[in-house]
């Protein structure tokens, strides 16, 4: 199945993509397609981290990938984020088949199509909040003025418009994670990957971050949250549950009719094994 490539190929069109987010409720092209992906580490003995994962995420979805530690969700995150390559199977990000891309092309794909939110935030303490967010566009090629302009917009979206010139050093965990989310969103990527975004936060702040992610999703962002916490996953519209390197359940069939065929097909394949 061929997906129409709706992704802009240059950074200059990021603003048009913002419009694209807003109007993404018509046809919903897939931004992530995994087909029968496996990942095996080491050779003696080989450890299978992923054993045939198929998953399709359409534009505008908010998906939780949930599973206990060792279920392969971190490996899956790395493969979706193109930080790692699958042992077999196909990965299409934003319409681009990842197989055969070299390091430079993968880097360009990450710069353009993927935003990361990490459990540990990974903020640069010596930089202002604004520059931290603007660094989300650092490797995209835009000049610094444009990057800061977009960063200011992203900070407004996460509710930190008034802290632009502060430094993250003395800010709370929740505020830091907001900065990190703004950094992931500033390039309007096709996919935002959030790895345990509430893992370092107390429950109240975690709930606020989750609410923020939902709100940003309503504005059009496609967000995949990786978590071990069922309680968090249950608050998100679609939950993909993993265990032992396989998807054991996917609630997509109830809520996302447009992608049911794919998901069910994938699961059916696994089920047959």
């Amino acid at each position: 199945m061929s997906t129409p490539n709706t992704s802009p190929t240059t950074v200059e069109t990021d603003r048009t993509r913002r419009d694209g987010w807003a109007g993404a409720n018509g046809s919903r092209p897939a931004v992530l397609e995994l087909h029968d992906v496996t990942k095996t580490y080491g050779s003696d003995p080989p450890v299978a981290a992923l054993r045939g994962v198929s998953l399709t995420v359409a534009q505008g979805e908010l998906v939780a990938i949930v599973g206990p530690s060792g279920s392969g969700k971190t490996t899956l995150l790395h493969i979706i984020g193109t930080l790692d390559q699958p042992s077999s199977g196909t990965v299409r990000i934003d319409g681009v088949d990842v197989a055969g891309l070299d390091d430079r092309q993968l880097a360009a794909l990450r710069a353009r199509s993927i935003g990361f939110v990490f459990q540990q935030f990974f903020l640069a303490e010596h930089q202002t909040v604004l520059d931290n967010v603007a660094d989300g566009l650092l490797y995209g090629g835009a000049p610094v003025g444009e990057r800061r302009e977009l960063a200011a917009g992203a900070l407004t979206a996460v509710g930190l418009a008034d802290r632009q010139h502060a430094r993250p050093t003395h800010m709370s965990g929740g505020q830091r994670q907001r900065i990190a989310i703004a950094r992931a969103l500033v390039g309007m990527p096709a996919i935002v990957l959030a790895d345990e975004p509430t893992g370092n936060l107390d429950s109240v702040t975690g709930a606020q971050i989750l609410a923020l992610l939902k709100q940003l999703n309503e504005q059009g962002a496609t967000i995949i949250v990786i978590t071990h916490d069922r309680g968090i996953a249950d608050q998100l519209p679609r939950q993909v549950q993993m265990r032992d390197g396989q998807i054991v359940s996917d609630t997509a069939s109830n809520q996302q009719p447009a992608v049911v065929a794919n998901s069910v097909g994938g699961n059916a394949t696994e089920a047959r094994r």
Partner: protein, 412 residues
Amino acid sequence: MSATTSLMPARLRSGDMARVASVGLRTRRLRAALSALGIAIGVAAIVAVLGLSSSSQAGLLAEIDQLGTNLLVVTNGQTFTGASATLPSTAPAMIGRIEPVNRVADTGAISSANVFRNPYIPSIDTNALTVQAASLNLLPAVGTSVAQGSYLNAATASEPAVVLGAAAAQRLGIDRVYRGERVWLGGMWFYVVGILKPATLAPAIDDSALIGYAAAKKYLNYTSTAADGTTTQGPPTTIYVRAQNSQVDAVDNVLANTADPENPSYVDVSQPSAALTARADAQGAFNGLFLGLGAVALLVGAVGVANIMIISVLERRSEIGLRRALGATRGQIRMQFLTEAILLALLGGAVGVLAGALATTVYAHTKHWAVVIPTEAWAGGIASAILIGAIAGLMPAIRAARLSPTDALRTV
């Protein structure tokens, strides 16, 4: 597929690269300063050594220039049998007839006489001083002047009067001229009428006691036999010739033949300023040791930079992982750390050049030399710092780039 072909990473702008590469320096300033110190010391040593030798050279050359480079010195050489040759008494007059010669003066070393403070000094304690008969126009020819008292004149030249060279006066313990001051010279008292300033171009004058040719003939029996058989004043052993600046080489070429037409090969001609200039040039050769020390400091500095960069790469794994996640290519990570190492070394190099230049300036000022810092010194210092940074940073940068993004992001 068009989407694939368009996947080209954007070039990092040079301003962004400079900012990214200076992150390590800006966030860990003390560490950066300490690791750049080794390179700073090495570069400073090299710049200061080269600057000081150039400045002292410039000082010496300026002095030579002031004294004049047109002085030629004619001395008696050796005969074919190895015996000391004698210049004809007529040589100064003959040389004076060469067209572009401005001034001719001469001295005659009287080997039979020595000079002592008083008669009770053992005769072997000569203080390495020589007694010379000198012509009356000697001082302007050799480019020196009287420090105290006066020089010989037509009257004192035939009397037991002596003028001491700067070193001779010091070794005899005479630091000023007063009435009745005398030295024991050639077995009799000679009265000191003057003391000279140092004669840089004619150091032989410095350790001489100068008397008139007439006095030498009269009291010390320094004579020669003229062609007609009469006894005249003694022969000159050194003739100082001032030629016109543009004609120095031409005069040089004819001097030997003019001084002793019969045996030109018995005559030695030299240009003291040329010898001094050569010595000034040769001074650089003595700096090898210090340059070597500077190079060792640079090497130690390079090891320090490499060390600090490797630690930096280990400490900043998560930053590397984040940057890779944000879309940095391996090349961009490599370039970031390589540029950081170069910046670090360049910082040290710049500080080193400034310190070396400062040391040179201060020392040259105390010596009243012109401050000369050769281009090779500071440009070479900066260039070697850049090179060292590149070499020291290469391995850590390659290691940083090789780090897989998933490993870099793993926090345990």
